[in-house]
């Protein structure tokens, strides 16, 4: 597995301290980007939290997901959560070690006692002492939150005190970024009031051992969700229900549960589960199977296969300034591009970890994952394989049909209604549910090359 290493250096461990008039939650930061450029210890926020207990629980849930592996539970190191200041809200994000669960806690303006936040994205230290201290917070005493270095003491430090070196697998990075792009296709499917939400989430099967329970289907019925055995019409897929365990932490403060998902099509798909808390939202996005990370879903491969989107993405990225909600129409005017191309550019930026998607707002938001993420997507195995096929001249185009020679076999790629289908094993297994196969991708690239060649008057590749 290709991977790099992420080195984090915090000026001291994050801690919950007792301060006059309440408690102080000091979250230390390491590395990241702000409007001023890269900073070693950016600071985004200092102010009161409106619902301290719920916020503490939400942070614990995000930390739980960061340290979890819901498939093949081998012990391993995990990465710290990422925090983004969007001006009016703080977003804490984490991604599970198995690449299948994405968690985000959005602390909105209401939850921040109306205060503004800074802009930028960085890592925050979460350590065992902090987790214990947060677990002890069962009351609602006032809590002051600080994200970033303490101005009073920062000058007295002469070197980083907490260093973490964590392996950063490519597929983890790809999955983290792609979870955003996948959730961009979600719509609100159900909303449950607090009591029903508690009942539903508590009735879910708990994970025990390594076996996943597979996908479960639930149908919005009345005020609640009815579990069912099959993907009937209107059903929402709940893949690997044991992976929602992190939501148990915040149930006491939950005011509603919202479910987002793509239109049901009979196969297991990913879905997002959002618990509404006072002034906050905690969202878990699940991959279509506990054994299947987001990285292999291939939903973005077609977008990555075009160079035009890459150039547009460059242009669009310059215009982003940590907006909490990106409006593609507005961006289109600024960039002088059609809205469709801006959307494609946003998908591209999403795969590079440079925008996230908020299903509750149904909008992208700007954040720059503090990892070297673009490399991972460029080296997507299927994309690399498709380029290799193309370079080997394995693609022969004839009208709607194409023949792709791969190894000893020949595959037939057929176009109908803009979608490509193939006769290979991958297609037979997933029928396009996990993105195009390498043959279809190669054909897509070959077709585009032919179009370009005709336009520029050159010969076909």
């Amino acid at each position: 597995m290709t991977r790099s290493t992420q080195a984090l250096a915090y000026s001291r461990p994050s801690a919950l301290a007792t301060a006059p008039g309440g408690r102080l939650l000091g979250l230390e930061t390491s590395g990241g980007v702000t409007p001023l450029g890269a900073e070693a210890h950016p600071g985004f926020f200092s102010g009161l939290l409106t619902s301290p207990r719920a916020a503490a629980r939400g942070l614990l849930a995000v930390a739980d997901v960061a340290g979890a592996r819901y498939y093949q539970r081998v012990p391993g190191s995990s990465l710290d959560p990422v925090v983004t200041g969007n001006g009016d809200r703080l977003r804490f994000e984490s991604f599970s070690g198995c690449c299948g669960v994405y968690a985000r806690l959005d602390v909105l303006r209401d939850g921040l006692d109306g205060a503004d936040t800074g802009h930028g994205t960085t890592n925050v230290d979460v350590n065992n002492r902090l987790r214990e201290a947060l677990s002890r917070m069962t009351g609602d005493d006032p809590l002051h939150l600080r994200v970033g270095p303490d101005e009073m003491t920062v000058t007295t430090l002469d070197g980083p005190l907490v260093e973490k070196k964590v392996p950063l697998p490519d597929r983890w990075l790809r999955g983290f970024a792609e979870a955003q792009v996948i959730s961009a296709g979600f719509d609100l499917r159900a909303e449950l009031p607090a009591a029903e939400a508690v009942r539903f989430l508590r009735a879910l099967p708990r994970g025990s051992g390594t076996a996943s329970r597979g996908a479960m289907w639930v149908v919005p019925t009345g005020r609640t969700l009815r579990p069912t055995t099959r993907p009937v019409r209107g059903a929402v897929c709940l893949p690997g229900p044991e992976r929602l365990a992190a939501l148990q932490r915040v149930l006491r403060d939950a005011t509603a549960l919202r479910v987002y998902g793509p239109p049901a099509g009979g196969v297991a798909v990913s879905s997002a589960w959002e618990v509404v808390l006072p002034g906050m939202r905690l969202t878990l996005t699940l991959s279509p199977d506990a054994a299947r990370g987001f990285s292999g879903e291939g939903g973005v491969l077609e977008a990555l296969a075009t160079e035009e989107a890459a150039r547009d993405a460059e242009l669009v990225s310059v215009l982003l300034a940590w907006e909490p909600r990106i409006d593609p129409a507005e961006l289109a005017v600024e960039a002088g591009l059609p809205v469709g191309r801006v959307r494609a550019a946003l998908v591209r930026l999403g795969t590079a970890g440079r925008v996230g998607y908020d299903v509750a707002d149904a909008a992208y938001f700007h954040r720059e994952l503090p990892y070297e993420a673009s490399r991972a997507e460029r080296h997507n195995p299927r994309l690399v394989a498709a380029r290799a096929l193309l370079d080997a001249g394995a693609v022969v185009l004839t009208g709607d049909l194409a023949r792709v020679a791969s190894g000893e076999r020949h595959y037939q790629v057929r176009e109908s209604g803009g979608a490509l289908s193939c006769t290979c094993r991958w297609w037979a297994d997933h029928r396009g549910a996990r993105g195009p196969c390498k043959h279809a991708l190669a054909v897509r690239m070959a077709r585009r090359d032919t179009v370009l060649a005709t336009l520029t008057g050159g010969g076909a590749r």
Partner: protein, 898 residues
């Protein structure tokens, strides 16, 4: 060549330290270059026996490590995978060659080795030795802690306590045990709570001796429990805590930890914390504010036991300190909304007793408003307590929520081009066509591909073969595989692959004919009968593709359930007539069985007007009544004994009280249908579960899409086994049956009754799906289902708690009226014996249904199926006592009277 290199090349590890000792730094650097070259040479060498390989490798490793200059490069050398075996590094010689280094250098190497997550566990012995040499602190990491735990765990030698006493690093490493994400297996594997010689016992004992420091141990253990973790690890920490026997002072000092555990811990951890806090609260050491905090968390927990214990504790505290009522009663009132009415009652009693001590109108009003969460059974009492304030609010008019009536989808038309067909065939090849479980779209995909193959073979078989050959090139039967020469394998190819193989001339006509003419004849179970039909169709199509190709298939379904529209079938027969094609017998029989009946009489006339034998048979079939299977108890005669009057019984005698279904004789099926369908006319059905390999189920519902009673009769033993022997997965067909056509009668109803009592939740869910779909389609005889369930329960075939769980699932979505229609009848039969286990649960679900308005309006009053329940219910409710059955009977009575 130097002496050192000679020794290394000869694999003499023992000589290496001595040869290295006199070398200077410069000489060592030179040797290292040689060693690296040797390493490259050895790496690519083929295997020559593991002992030699190990000797060569170890010698190289030790020599190279001794020649390294920097700590980082030394660790890189030691960590290289080609230089180490599965058993880690040899610590003895390595320590010998490294001992000349500075302590700081050694400490650096030890730290780096400990930081390598993939190797630190097995390198523990070397790290420990280096730390000893350097005199530094142990670099505690997760992986190193695991290695340490393995190294010190007793394996025949000295006991764990002795080893730890002798280990100078024990204090540091024990601390590591509380930081690892998952405890090493050697520590958690012994579960016996009374043994003192296991890890928790020894650690506690050593803390007593002073070998380990007690305070940090207590703090770390509590912190770890607070943080949670893998359920498997928790018993270790719980046992350690118990063995440490905390003093009252220690317990008091950590109140916040205990409260945190009550709030978030696993149930065992929360129970322990609750126990400690109760002790503190009763002794007066817990401030009222903290108790309120803890109670809020405890009362929110899902475990009833913890909630009850908390209410008991609150009662005790309130008795000794009535002044605390103002702070504690609002927390108690949070339990008013608890799902269990018993908990509600306890909370209400507690509030009633201490309400006088609450001062201030506002606090009382808050309690009164919380009382609206109470179940109706407790409302009168609450109204008494708070005045008229708790009178029940006017509920919305009741609305029964059932799933939408399922509409079958029309099957997509056959592949429009050869390319599309080839894609479909590829998708169903290589074992994917025969999934081991039922998939909703599986039958449709198979039917479309089969029809497509027939059509394109009829049009131009050579073109079809060419297209298929390319696509299926990876299949074993197209390769020069010895198995591919054996026809007995080829004629058993699953699904469309067999037709493809036939079209590609891989099977001889003789082989195809033999398979066609000698299909399965057994009628022992659904695999043989329902599966046999699919098998016979494949054999027929495969044979005809090569000999006398059909223009298309008659039996291709019109709808996703498998049903064929009668008009479409008439049209297909007309086309056959026009093309002078002869319908294939199995194909036509399947088409007949699939055709939807009870439609337009014009269709019957049109079929008869065709003037062909098939047209006449269709016309006759369309007006024939489907016979409905009968039910019987196991006391009735054995299988076949009553077949004279047209009944055959299945599964009889296997278990007293078991209810089963039997099919009736049908002459038309015995006379006119090909052998694969003769079982349809037989007065028998399977006599129990079989041991066949479960495949092909995807096709079964599609064989009888318009006759779900017969389908149910054949599949009933499977679902009965789900309830009886706890088999898994036998209820898969219930929702399919509920959506299928034909009358819904006793066999399907019995299937639902068994499914609702299945052992596994997935099977129960399938039965709930079926129940709700039947209710939505207006095809559910609720009272009769309830009586069937009561009969099964009285005979001991099904368990009431499982039925109650299914009923709760069904009711919770808003189908209270449907569930009550079933439970009312069940209860009226069951209440004669109130001692039956699980009856309380069932009564609770019934009461919940009635409280939600299941009996309001039209169904209230005399003459409904629920009424007979009332006399027996009154008797049970009047018994007095505090049992759950009585309490829930009272609740149901109250609800019914309102």
């Amino acid at each position: 060549m130097s002496e050192l290199l000679d020794a290394v090349r000869a694999g003499r590890v023992e000589d290496v330290p001595g040869l290295l000792k006199p070398l200077t730094a410069r000489e060592r650097a030179a040797e290292l270059r040689e060693l690296k070259a040797w390493r490259a040479e050895v790496r690519d060498r083929p295997w020559t026996g593991w002992q030699e390989r190990r000797r060569l490798r170890d010698a190289l490793l030790v020599a190279g490590a001794g020649c390294q200059r920097g700590a980082a490069s030394a660790v890189a050398w030691l960590g290289a995978s080609d230089l180490r075996g599965a058993d880690g590094l040899p610590p003895g010689p390595l320590v010998e060659v490294l001992s000349h280094q500075e302590p700081a250098w050694l400490a650096d190497v030890a730290r780096r080795l400990a930081g390598r997550a993939s190797t630190a566990q097995e390198d523990y012995p070397l790290v420990a030795a280096l730390v000893k040499l350097a005199g530094c602190a142990m670099p505690v990491t997760d992986a190193l802690t695991r290695g340490w735990a393995e190294a010190v765990s007793p394996s025949g030698g000295p006991s764990l306590a002795e080893t730890l006493r002798a280990d100078p690093q024990a204090r540091d490493m024990v601390r590591g045990l509380f930081e690892v994400t998952e405890l090493p297996f050697v520590i958690v594997w012994r579960p016996d709570p009374d043994v003192a010689s296991d890890w928790p016992g020894v650690l506690a004992a050593l803390a007593g001796e002073g070998v380990l420091e007690r305070d940090p141990l207590v703090a770390a253990c509590l912190a770890r429990l607070l943080r949670g973790g893998r359920p498997r690890d928790l018993p270790f920490f719980l046992k350690l805590l118990r063995r440490l026997e905390l003093t009252g002072e220690e317990e008091r000092a950590r109140t916040a930890d205990w409260i945190g555990m009550v709030s978030d811990g696993a149930s065992t951890v929360a129970a322990l914390a609750q126990e400690v806090l109760s002790r503190l609260a009763v002794s007066g050491a817990l401030p009222v504010g903290a108790l309120a905090d803890m109670s809020g968390s405890a009362l929110f927990r899902p475990e009833k036991k913890l909630v009850r214990a908390q209410l008991v504790l609150l009662g005790k505290v309130l008795r000794s300190d009535p002044g605390a009522a103002g702070v504690l009663l609002p927390v108690v009132a949070e339990a008013f909304g608890h799902a269990d009415t018993d908990v509600q009652e306890r909370a209400l009693k507690l509030v009633a007793r201490h309400l006088p001590a609450v001062e201030g109108e506002e606090a009382r009003a808050g309690l009164a408003s919380a009382a609206s969460l109470l179940s109706p059974v407790h409302r009168p009492r609450a109204a008494e307590l708070f005045g008229g304030a708790a009178a029940d609010t006017e509920a919305d008019p009741y609305e029964e929520i059932l799933p939408p009536v399922p509409e079958p989808d029309r099957l997509a038309p056959v592949a429009a081009s050869l390319a599309e067909l080839v894609e479909e065939v590829a998708a169903l090849s290589g074992g994917r066509g025969e999934p081991s479980t039922y998939t909703p779209g599986g039958m449709a995909a198979f039917e479309r591909a089969l029809d497509g193959l027939v059509r394109y073979a009829h049009a131009d078989r050579a073109a079809l073969a060419d297209a298929l050959r390319d696509t299926l090139a990876g299949s074993w039967w197209l390769k020069d595989d010895p198995a591919a020469a054996n026809e007995t394998w080829l004629v058993r190819l699953a699904g469309v692959e067999r037709v493809a193989a036939a079209a590609l001339d891989r099977i001889s006509v003789r082989g195809l004919w033999y398979a066609y003419a000698h299909g399965p004849r057994s009628t022992c179970c659904a695999h043989a009968t329902l599966g046999g039909v699919a098998e016979a169709r494949l054999a027929e199509v495969a044979y005809l593709v090569r000999t006398k190709s059909l223009p298309f298939l008659l039996a291709t379904p019109t709808w996703s359930t498998g049903a064929v529209d009668p008009d479409v079938l008439v049209e297909r027969l007309r086309t056959y007539q026009r093309l002078c094609a002869a319908p294939a017998p199995v194909d036509f029989a399947q088409a007949l069985v699939r055709v939807r009946r009870g439609g337009d009489p014009g269709t019957v006339r049109a079929a008869a007007a065709l003037g062909t034998p098939e047209g006449d048979r269709l016309a006759a079939w369309l007006v024939e009544e489907t016979p409905v299977p009968g039910l019987k108890g196991a006391g009735e005669p054995e299988r076949g004994a009553r077949s004279g009057d047209g009944y055959g019984w299945l599964g009889a005698g296997s278990r007293a009280g078991r209810l089963l279904a039997g099919t009736r004789q049908r002459l038309v099926a015995r006379r006119d249908f090909p052998p694969a369908f003769r079982w349809l006319g037989q007065a028998s059905a399977p006599s129990g579960t079989c041991s066949h390999w479960s495949t092909g189920m995807t096709h079964w519902p599609g064989v009888l899409p318009e006759d779900r009673e017969t389908l149910a009769a054949w599949l009933l033993p499977d679902v009965a086994a789900c309830a009886g022997t706890g088999r898994r997965g036998g209820a898969w067909w219930l929702p399919v049956g509920a959506e299928a056509g034909g009358p819904a009668g006793p066999a399907l109803r019995l299937g639902v009754a068994y499914g609702l009592a299945a052992r596994h939740p997935g099977d129960r869910l399938a039965a709930v799906d079926a129940l709700l779909v039947l209710a939505a389609r207006g095809q559910l005889d609720g009272p009769q289902l309830g009586r069937d369930m009561a009969l099964l329960a009285i005979s001991g075939t099904v368990k009431l708690n499982r039925l109650a769980d299914s009923a709760r699932t069904a009711a919770a979505t808003g189908a209270y009226r449907t569930v009550w229609s079933v439970l009312g009848a069940t209860l009226s039969d069951l209440l004669a014996d109130p001692s039956r286990p699980g009856l309380g649960d069932l009564l609770a679900v019934a009461a919940e249904c009635v409280e939600h308005g299941a009996v309001a309006g039209a169904t209230a009053g005399a003459g409904t199926g629920a009424d007979p329940a009332i006399p027996a219910l009154a008797a049970v409710a009047a018994r007095g006592g505090s049992s759950r059955v009585t309490a829930q009977a009272v609740r149901l009575m109250t609800a019914l009277r309102q």
